[in-house]
């Protein structure tokens, strides 16, 4: 059987992955330093929201290995995998489980962040829609979900190390180049998704970011006036 380089991760997936890595690292750094950097934490939150929305859409409309249906970890697939019978391209069923955990936790962190506050100068863009005690609760979940995310990132890295050292399988290179050497027996030409789907996904992601961070939703939905800080316009 011949080996052939086959594209398994398309460019949008790779860009998503590495941009999210950078976003998560910088979000953590900026909020730890605080002060003027807290503003950047919020900006990175907007980027993270856009990335997550895009990835979810790409999970339905993207190329084959990006689609959730391709790697959804059903019990039968998992059993097959643990019996060593799984043969596929892209995420294994166990890897699929990890994808859903990582994406789900990042999603929780991002969404709770929209409502969170640091009780100093940082308030999520949707903070005006809820009351402070609910926002404080969201802030707690934001932190807990982030710690859980760190644990799953650690597992993700351990799995990559395991593949590297034990199974002699480099998983990092395909995430950079997109290509992997594969036996061509079971893989023929890959169907490509329509380019229009990519632009629609990007447009929808941008729309969601604009609705939240552009104060559009708060202006539409806020039941109380959203003029944030009462200032001393009065003479006394």
């Amino acid at each position: 059987m011949q080996k052939q380089k086959i594209q398994i991760w398309d460019l949008p997936i790779r860009l998503f992955h590495w941009l999210l890595v950078i976003t998560i690292a910088l979000s953590y750094l900026t909020i730890e330093i605080g002060g003027a950097w807290a503003d950047w934490h919020a900006r990175l939150g907007a980027l993270a929201l856009g990335l997550i929305v895009f990835r979810v859409l790409w999970g339905f409309f993207g190329n084959q290995q990006a689609r959730f249906s391709q790697f959804f970890p059903t019990p039968s697939r998992l059993i097959q995998y643990f019996k060593g019978q799984w043969q596929g391209v892209g995420h294994s069923p166990l890897g699929g489980l990890a994808v859903f955990a990582l994406l789900g936790l990042t999603g929780i962190v991002v969404v709770t962040g929209l409502f969170a506050n640091d009780d100093i100068t940082l308030f999520g863009p949707l903070y005006p829609l809820i009351n402070q005690s609910l926002s404080d609760w969201m802030t707690g979940i934001h932190a807990i979900a982030f710690n859980a995310l760190l644990i799953f990132i650690a597992l993700h890295l351990l799995a990559i190390a395991f593949y590297w050292f034990v199974k002699k399988n480099n998983l990092i290179k395909p995430m950079l180049t997109g290509k992997k050497d594969l036996q061509i027996s079971h893989q023929t030409a890959q169907p490509k998704t329509k380019p229009a789907y990519f632009f629609i996904s990007i447009a929808l992601a941008l729309l969601i970011v604009w609705l939240t961070f552009g104060n559009v939703l708060t202006d539409l939905l806020a039941t109380k006036p959203t003029a944030q800080v009462p200032s001393s316009q009065n003479q006394w």
Partner: protein
């Protein structure tokens, strides 16, 4: 009986020596009010810095002086023993650690005071660039204490 008497005497002496402001609930209430007032003024400044085109020097100076005044009012008197438990306007989020690491607590508190007074001076210049830098330092001093001595989740 003797032991109890000694204990009570020492409690009375300890409290007398530290001159804290009244019952625990009062201390927590004053405390929460002070920081809430500081928070309001902090965000008044943030609004000014976020909108350079309508930057009001007077608004920043007034808020900066209010923060400095609150910081200089002797907030330490509101941290009497036992005030890590109890309810003011709401349950306090002060960690018991505050009393176990008095040196660190003092350092963070005096840093905040220092930054508040420094900021009030810089506010007078009316220069948004300088003000922004010092404002970052000031809010970092808030955060430093929150990180060390405040419960993450409201109790």
């Amino acid at each position: 009986m003797k032991k109890l008497g000694l204990f009570l005497t020492s409690v009375v002496l300890l409290n007398a020596g530290l001159s804290h402001a009244g019952p625990i609930e009062d201390q927590i209430k004053y405390r929460q009010s002070a920081y809430s007032f500081i928070g309001w003024n902090t965000n008044k400044i943030k609004v000014q810095l976020d909108k350079p085109e309508t930057f009001s020097k007077e608004e920043v100076i007034a808020a900066a002086n209010a923060i400095a005044a609150a910081a200089n009012s002797g907030l330490g008197a509101l941290y009497g023993p036992g005030t890590d438990q109890g309810e003011g306007w709401r349950k306090t989020r002060l960690k018991p650690d505050f009393f176990q690491k008095p040196d660190e607590a003092k350092k963070l508190a005096t840093t905040f005071n220092l930054e508040a007074n420094e900021f009030a001076k810089v506010a007078e210049t009316g220069d948004p660039v300088q003000i922004k830098v010092k404002f970052g330092k000031l809010t970092q001093s808030c955060k430093a204490c929150h990180d060390s001595f405040r419960e993450k989740d409201p109790k």
